[in-house]
């Protein structure tokens, strides 16, 4: 009896396995989303999910990709590279997904790129900033549709050079990989634009009190402070600067994750005038963006941020590539994605063939009366920087 059951089961398994290749080209297209659904980065994962779900709904309602429906499969990566690899492996091996996306932590994106190479599948990030993903650690199987750290600093530095020419800039970053690389990137962009350095300090992550660095800041008499602290650290840094009367006459600029919808209320008046370079803002004044913001708001009761918008845009890039390639096969889709131009809420984006980095116009936004306003923009060509990927 037991043997019969086992044989039947084996036969059934073999049958499903055999029928799969034929089935895969006609059934729904499966897209695996490995994104943080718990932990510190939950709000980012939430935007990724909302953006992808809205795009999938719209694509499916309009007949899908080459007539095939899009199916999103979510896994929680907990913003942890080792978890991301496990979950991505599961999606590739068990669920046989055609495409992977969703990673937030830059380490997760780099790890998933290697995994995608081993499995001969393609992946894309819509969030990770680290320049290395499309420069020295680029992968033929990884694409990035969002703006990387250098694009953000180029835009901000270009605006700063106009607003405060030859300014003396003081740099304050959190003391870990992200903080040091953002400060270095912005410093090099700003100094190309004529800025001078007034000194730099790297404070431990989760610092309680930034006042112990105020002596150095005051003594160097900067016109501009650049910071890439985030979350609660920004609340403390900016309100303490305000309490100590340091904000008057000072322009504070920073990385795009420094002041967000999550901490802007707590920062209050101390956030006024804060400027940063971003690849997306819900304020972009175009019909496409207005339609997107309205649809996003109707579905999720909140505005999209850059993560939501870039994730939304990604599915349309994949759709365009698959339809151009006439297949979901890795090599054909890769060729189709290289050099692809497609429409997104923030305008036309183009994937540079040499490093798989999307080129896009960049914006400088500044906090006015507690809300971000667009005050400047930089063309995609001037923001992109040289192609530093040598692997392909």
């Amino acid at each position: 009896m037991n043997i019969i059951i086992r044989l039947t089961a084996a036969a059934l398994l073999a049958a499903t396995a055999l029928s799969q290749p034929a089935f895969a080209q006609s059934g729904p297209i499966k897209i695996g989303v490995v994104t943080p659904l718990s932990g510190t980065y939950t709000p980012i994962g939430q935007q990724v999910r909302w953006g992808l779900e809205l795009a999938a709904k719209e694509i499916n309602a309009a007949g899908g990709i080459s007539g095939r429906q899009v199916n999103l499969l979510f896994e929680d990566e907990e913003a942890n590279p080792s978890v991301a690899v496990q979950k991505a492996e599961k999606l590739l091996q068990v669920e046989k997904v055609d495409f992977l996306t969703g990673t937030v932590n830059s380490g997760s994106t780099l790890a998933v790129a290697q995994l995608a190479e081993r499995n001969a599948k393609l992946a894309a990030t819509t969030v990770s900033f680290a320049d290395s993903i499309t420069t020295d650690k680029c992968s033929p199987n990884m694409f990035r549709v969002n703006a990387r750290a250098e694009q953000q600093s180029v835009a901000l530095a270009a605006w700063l050079a106009k607003e405060k020419p030859k300014a003396k800039v003081f740099y304050l970053g959190p003391d870990y990989e992200m903080g040091r690389s953002t400060v270095a990137a912005f410093k090099s962009s700003a100094e190309k634009g004529g800025a001078q350095s007034g000194g730099e300090v790297f404070a431990p992550l989760d610092s309680k009190d930034y006042t112990q660095y105020f002596g150095q800041i005051r003594a160097s008499r900067p016109q501009v402070v650049y910071t890439s602290v985030a979350g609660n650290d920004t609340v403390r840094l900016l309100t303490q600067l305000q309490d100590f009367g340091l904000l008057s006459g000072l322009t504070v600029v920073g990385a795009s994750g420094t002041v967000t919808s999550q901490n802007i209320t707590a920062i209050g008046a101390a956030a006024e005038g804060f400027a940063t370079g971003v690849g997306y803002s819900p304020q972009i004044d175009s019909p496409e963006n207005k339609t997107f913001v309205a649809a996003f708001r109707a579905a999720n009761k909140t505005d999209p941020d850059l993560y939501g918008a870039d994730s939304y845009g990604l599915l349309f890039a994949y759709k365009a590539a698959v339809e151009k390639a006439g297949s979901t096969e890795t090599d054909k889709v890769r060729e189709a994605l290289r050099g692809l131009s497609w429409q997104t809420p923030q305008g036309t984006k183009t994937i540079r063939a040499g490093d798989h980095q999307a080129m896009q116009p960049m914006y400088v936004v500044r906090v006015t009366k507690g809300k971000f306003d667009i005050i400047d923009n930089v063309s995609s060509e001037s923001a992109i920087g040289p192609d530093a990927c040598t692997r392909f």
Partner: protein, 296 residues
């Protein structure tokens, strides 16, 4: 940079800012050292009681209650909470063989629960009450926010008040007696059980008061309890477990070390210096600077 510039803009503000931070640390450590000194309980949830105080100030402040009244109201509201925690969580495990381990684990668990409860009620985003005393004053070119100045003065007043109660009043004598020899104190008519619950609640009330005072400077979020707790424990160990003066001296000293060290070396290395001091004390002078309260 000229030496005058260095003195005026760097060194002097650093010392004064370090002092304000030191007062904040002493305020948090005060309740901790009293609970440890008197009850022999390592209260790992002290940071979360500090967070409860801050959230209470935020919520009641939003309901229209003034800051000055909150300074009294919040600690008073914290007392029944502390009493309940002592009765329900500390008391049942107090007489077990491994009192230190069990109370440490129980209060650690309580802290984790409180943190999540605060997140469920108030959300994960950072909030901040308005600064009760805005503006800044200038002394010889050193700019200090008025509220920090107020914090230094109030902190000194609170420490003196607590020290007066513990060392100079009959109530304080009863508490110290109960801490020194519980059976002897009981046989002399000290209501030991009530004294224990009251002392724990007093420590919790002090944590709440620290929460009200520090919320405008350090902002309010569910995991804020973790902020000061390591430094506060260090202060308690270096100062002498349970010693009020020890906590004051160690708190001010260690924050000055931190503030001045960050001028010469990367700020990240100031934490190892502070915790290294703690380890050195544990190895070479485990009783701390001043020795243990009631056991001197």
């Amino acid at each position: 940079m000229s030496p005058i510039d260095y003195l005026q803009f760097v060194l002097a503000p650093q010392v004064v800012n370090g002092l304000a931070l030191g007062v904040a640390v002493v305020l948090v450590a005060l309740g901790l050292t009293i609970i440890f000194g008197m009850l022999d309980v390592i209260n790992m949830s002290h940071g979360e009681f500090y967070a409860i105080g801050a959230y209470a100030a935020l919520a009641l402040g939003a309901a229209g209650i003034g800051f000055w009244f909150l300074l009294v109201l919040v600690p008073v509201l914290m007392i029944p909470l502390g009493m309940a925690a002592e009765r329900l969580l500390i008391r049942p495990v107090f007489d077990t063989k491994d009192r230190h381990v069990t109370t440490l684990l129980v209060t650690f668990g309580l802290g984790l629960i409180v943190e999540d409860v605060l997140k469920v009620i108030f959300g994960a985003n950072t909030q901040r009450p308005p600064t009760p005393i805005p503006g800044a004053s200038e002394f010889f070119g050193i700019i200090l926010p008025n509220y920090r100045l107020f914090l230094i003065l109030v902190g000194a007043a609170i420490v003196l008040g607590v020290a007066f109660v513990v060392y100079k009043t009959r109530l304080g004598a009863m508490v110290r007696a109960a801490a020194f020899d519980r059976n002897m104190a009981a046989s002399l008519g000290v209501p030991v059980s009530l004294v224990y619950a009251g002392t724990f609640a007093f420590g919790v009330g002090l944590a709440g008061l620290a929460g009200v005072l520090l919320a405008p400077i350090y902002s309010v979020f569910p995991t804020m309890g973790r902020d000061f707790i390591l430094l506060a424990f260090t202060v308690v160990i270096v100062g002498g477990m349970g010693s009020i003066w020890g906590a004051v001296v160690a708190g001010l000293l260690l924050t000055q070390v931190q503030a001045l060290a960050s001028l010469v070396i990367s700020p990240v290395w100031t934490d190892p210096i502070v915790f290294g001091t703690m380890v050195a004390f544990l190895v070479f002078r485990p009783q701390g600077l001043f020795g243990r309260l009631g056991h001197a």
